[in-house]
Amino acid sequence: MLDDRELVRRTQSGDRQAFEQLLDRYEARIYRMALRATGNPADAEDVTQEIFLGIYRNIGAFVGRSSFSTWVYRVAMNHCLEFRRKRRLDTVPIEDQERLVSMRQQDDPVICASRTETADRVNAALRSLSDKHRDVVTLHEMQGLTYQECAEVLDVPVGTVKSRLFNAFAQLRSLLGGRGSEEA
């Protein structure tokens, strides 16, 4: 299996199949990130499409000074920020938002209901965070980026990432109350 750099090199040389592999690797992550940023599946799809289009167009500018994943998240964050500038999250009707939880068909309905309720609470808590705090939670907790990678994507110092995460979790802790331990 080829690593990201090799796929990038092949894409830069015109190999479309290599880019499709990159798309397969990052599509779900970028879509979830866009969904967190937009709060709307339709907008998330549009933003995801624009992100990958931007990656494809500008992949020639990637010179490998950072990891490809960091570069991709940086492109994605720029698009998400642009989307926020155009339309704020709070203008999205709550009923249009899709529950950000998937239920497998074979799951027990009771368990599914409990999981859905928990997911609703978590999503509501995440929506109540500020954009800065939500972004760092998304990148670190959901996308698995390190503090350093988050700092590069968000263009802030590592200490800022650390403090934002601390504050975000302090808010989540107060918002979720004691239910976190019960649901987990």
Binding site: G14, V122, N123, G180
Partner: protein, 474 residues
């Protein structure tokens, strides 16, 4: 538990493995002893699990095909027609982010201005003037006390001693060691420097520029220069000859030459008078230079005002009858309780004798600045003590950059008419009631040597000498 507040911000980073070795060791040691923080770590982990579990949504299957359909044939072709919405990232570490050149230039300019402001705020002091003048100063500051006199450098190797420094040293509470030192040496004892060295500056011979030349009382803190106006204690009447002998003021200026015909060029500044041991019980004296358009009229007004207020006009005053219209001297003995009143009245006199007529006090600007002054009992007080500043004055002073504001305190504020000045005015009135005019006999008396000078042309105006000045537009 103790230390929780210091460790708590690191708990999340500890959980994520983002702490350094020492920080991790510190948190781990704390967690071993703190059940509260352990439960907090548990909660943080559970919240993280919840957040991650809520993010398991999958993209729709059609999205991949949609993305691929929107792609151009080749990335190179796309690069030739870059989209305006594309955002090629520039990933540069925040610490190594390059700042624009103007930012560096701006920072340098700000630093230079700050340095200049600090430099100009330092009153004129000799190297020893920055030292605590008494042993209690060293005791209260926590530094070691002055070394024995034998540890001090010989007098001939010392740098020149400024008059103000001598004054401060002379007004400090006298100790046995100091009295002994005064007996054996003409110069007051010195203590080692405990603060940063202050560059010694001497009074420049040129007449200082005047910020508000049409009406102003300039003092020794103005313009960031060495203090032209210094104060000394003397048991002699402040005659022009005495002033000349002391080298008061800018000796080479026109006014200085007018009042110091017998100046001794070899005498360094004010040192001679303050060092005389027999002068220690004399009243304090402050010399003020007042720039006005009509010095003789101003002196006459001040003399009449002194008669009204009960202040004593001492010998040595020209009393408005001096032959020179460029500089007129008035020597007054004012009770300490009426210092503020005197300052306000002096500013009023300066304003009234400037310009076409009496300048409205609301718009006139006069600067009354003084160096640290002393009283016969050895108490030292600075400008902030003798001229109480209101909060608005302090704010304006800080906004204007310190020295500039020191040079130009509003006459309104000094006369207690500005917002916040009423309290001071009331207080001065109360002081007047408490200190009647016969306080000269019982209370402390401060001697003011007021020199009214013709207003020089403004700085950098490029005007011819004697050219008519226009009122400053407001």
């Amino acid at each position: 538990m103790d230390g929780c507040s210091g460790v708590s911000p690191d708990l999340k980073a500890y959980l994520d493995g983002e702490l350094s070795f020492l920080a991790r060791w510190r948190v781990r040691r704390h967690l071993a002893a703190c059940a509260i923080c352990r439960s907090q770590v548990r909660e943080l982990r559970e919240i993280g699990d919840l957040v991650r579990s809520a993010d398991n949504v999958a993209p729709p299957a059609s999205l991949r095909a949609r993305i691929l359909a929107s792609l151009p044939e080749t990335p190179a072709a796309a690069a030739l027609k870059p989209s305006r919405r594309a955002h090629p990232p520039r990933i540069i570490p925040a610490a190594a982010r390059r700042r624009p050149p103007w930012a560096l230039a701006g920072a340098s300019a700000v630093a230079a201005l700050l340095a200049l402001a600090v430099w100009t705020r330092v009153p004129f002091q000799g190297p020893e003037a920055a030292l605590p003048v008494g042993p209690e100063s060293a005791a209260t500051s926590g530094f070691k006390a002055a070394p024995a006199p034998g540890d001090r450098p010989p007098p001939e190797t010392r740098p020149p001693v400024s008059g103000l420094a001598k004054l401060r040293a002379a007004r400090a509470p006298k100790t046995a060691e100091r009295a002994r030192a005064e007996d054996i040496a003409p110069k007051p004892p010195r203590t080692p420097r405990l603060s940063a060295p202050v560059p010694q500056r001497r009074a420049t011979p040129a007449s200082p520029p005047v910020l508000s030349p049409r009406s102003g009382v300039s003092g020794n803190l103005a313009y960031g220069r060495p203090p032209e106006v210094l104060e000394e204690r003397t048991d002699r009447p402040a005659t022009p000859e005495a002033l000349a002998g002391a080298g008061l003021g800018g000796s080479s200026s026109a006014a200085g030459r007018a009042v110091s015909p017998t100046a001794q060029p070899g005498r360094p500044g004010l040192g001679g008078m303050a060092a005389a041991p027999s002068l220690k019980d004399a009243p304090a004296r402050t010399r003020l230079v007042v720039h006005t358009d009509r010095p003789a009229q101003a002196a006459d007004s001040l003399a009449r005002l002194a008669a009204e207020k009960g202040w004593t006009v001492l010998p040595g005053s020209d009393g408005g009858k001096g032959p020179s219209s460029a500089a007129v001297l008035v020597v007054l003995a004012v009770p300490d309780a009426q210092k503020d009143l005197f300052t306000r009245e002096l500013s009023r006199v300066a304003s009234a004798t400037t310009g076409e007529g009496a300048m409205p006090p609301q718009t006139g600007r006069a600067t009354v600045l003084r160096s640290a002054t002393g009283t016969p009992d050895g108490r030292t007080e600075g400008p902030s003590d003798s001229m109480e500043r209101t909060p608005s004055e302090e704010a304006r002073k800080s906004r204007a950059g310190g020295d500039a504001a020191r040079r130009a305190l509003d006459l309104n504020s000094q006369m207690g008419q500005a917002p916040g000045g009423g309290q001071r005015l009331d207080r001065s009135v109360q002081q007047e009631r408490e200190a009647p005019t016969d306080a000269l006999k019982t209370a402390e008396v401060h001697t003011y040597v007021v020199e009214f000078r013709a207003a020089p042309p403004p700085v950098g105006a490029g005007r011819r000498p004697g050219a008519q000045q226009r009122p400053r537009p407001r």
